[in-house]
Symmetry: C2
Subunit: 224 residues, 2 copies
């Protein structure tokens, strides 16, 4: 395990994390009002650091704030979700392209091992099951990291996935779509191994576009 230098953590950092996770696990629902006094008392801190944490999250668009009125958890409509997923498509498609160009030989090997492991899962082979969430994330994150563009990585793994997580939607790979999703993953890997940038971007886009359509139609059906 890597040894990491100890960093001094300020209260603001702790509070930020606390609010983040509250948003991601649904304790703080989208659109819910966040009372400074209430939350400060609840967390046992004063309003100062709490306000700073809220400001930071405001900059990240997870919190919306109206002067003299207060802070709310960002309201996320299905339309907005769709917009975000389209953005993800563009960015992760580009990530796949860059990965095809910049991947190291070792990374290609690791990726092959990763996809082989997935393929051996019984649930995937039978087609009745689902791709588990963590392996699916691993797959996408791995490619993003292989693109060797730190900004892009920060945007996708940080901001964008944070926002998307706030929606708490069921990933469409968790929904009987596993066999198709796996085939799509295989196509992406094939293009990456062959260093075919165009094909890699196209395959990733197709994969995410399909997932997007499933997610959106499913959510629209749920929330009528």
């Amino acid at each position: 395990m890597d040894i990491q230098p100890i960093e001094a953590k300020s209260l603001v950092d702790v509070i930020t994390k606390e609010i983040e996770t509250a948003i991601f696990n649904g304790t703080l629902e989208p659109g819910a009002k966040v009372s400074e006094q209430g939350l400060a008392r609840q967390l046992g801190v004063s309003r100062g650091p709490l306000r700073e944490a809220l400001r930071r999250l405001e900059g990240r668009k997870l919190i919306e704030r109206t002067t003299n009125i207060g802070a709310r958890v960002a309201k996320l409509s299905v339309d907005d979700l769709e917009n975000l997923l389209v953005i993800r498509e563009a960015l992760e498609g580009m990530a796949a392209r860059l990965a095809a160009q910049n991947m190291t030989e070792k990374e290609r090997e690791t990726l092959t091992a990763l996809i082989t492991a997935h393929g051996e899962q019984e649930s995937v082979r039978s087609g009745t099951g689902y791709l588990q969430e963590q392996p699916d994330f691993d797959f996408h994150f791995f490619i993003i990291r292989a693109a060797k563009n730190e900004r892009l990585e920060a945007m996708l793994c940080g901001e964008l996935y944070d926002l998307l997580r706030a929606y708490r939607y069921k990933s469409s790979t968790l929904d009987g779509r596993a066999r198709n999703a796996f085939a799509e993953h295989e196509a992406i890997v094939k293009a990456l191994i062959e260093s075919d940038a165009d094909a890699a971007e196209a395959a990733m886009r197709l994969h995410l576009s399909t997932a997007r359509q499933h997610i959106v139609s499913q959510m629209r059906a749920e929330r009528i």
Copy 2:
């Protein structure tokens, strides 16, 4: 002119804007330390709202902050600029694609008028001149807005352009590349008018990719 509802502005909003412009016009250079006490005294405000403004900018990655040490204006290397321009390529390419699909008839007319006006500039026709900055921005912003994806618009017109502006680089369209840049614009418009999404995205990507290469090589040459 549109009538807009008056919004209460808090000190934090004012301070944020103040720091933003200081970064964009170079008063606060990238990497420069920002002293809370100093800036607070200079602006005639207390440290509280100033800290909140810094936190917000931290969330937007314009300010970097280390606990107990202080805040710095984000350091922007040429590599990082290149990374950002690649991201812009992906996003604005997608914007062009969406614009081709979602543009209204009226928008198509406006766009045609816009490009015709550019073409009649003597400086462009002779090829010796340059595309002025504002019209160039107008062109790009117009397409982004026509994509009808608010998130994408916010990202490109807001966050990303903010960050890019912090670099204060000379847009490559300002540098004798006007004739080529104009031809590239024309290709984009043609695809948009014909509702050819693939062509629109490809043309926009090509345009931005060429610009990126010019900008980066120019900056590397300047900063040896």
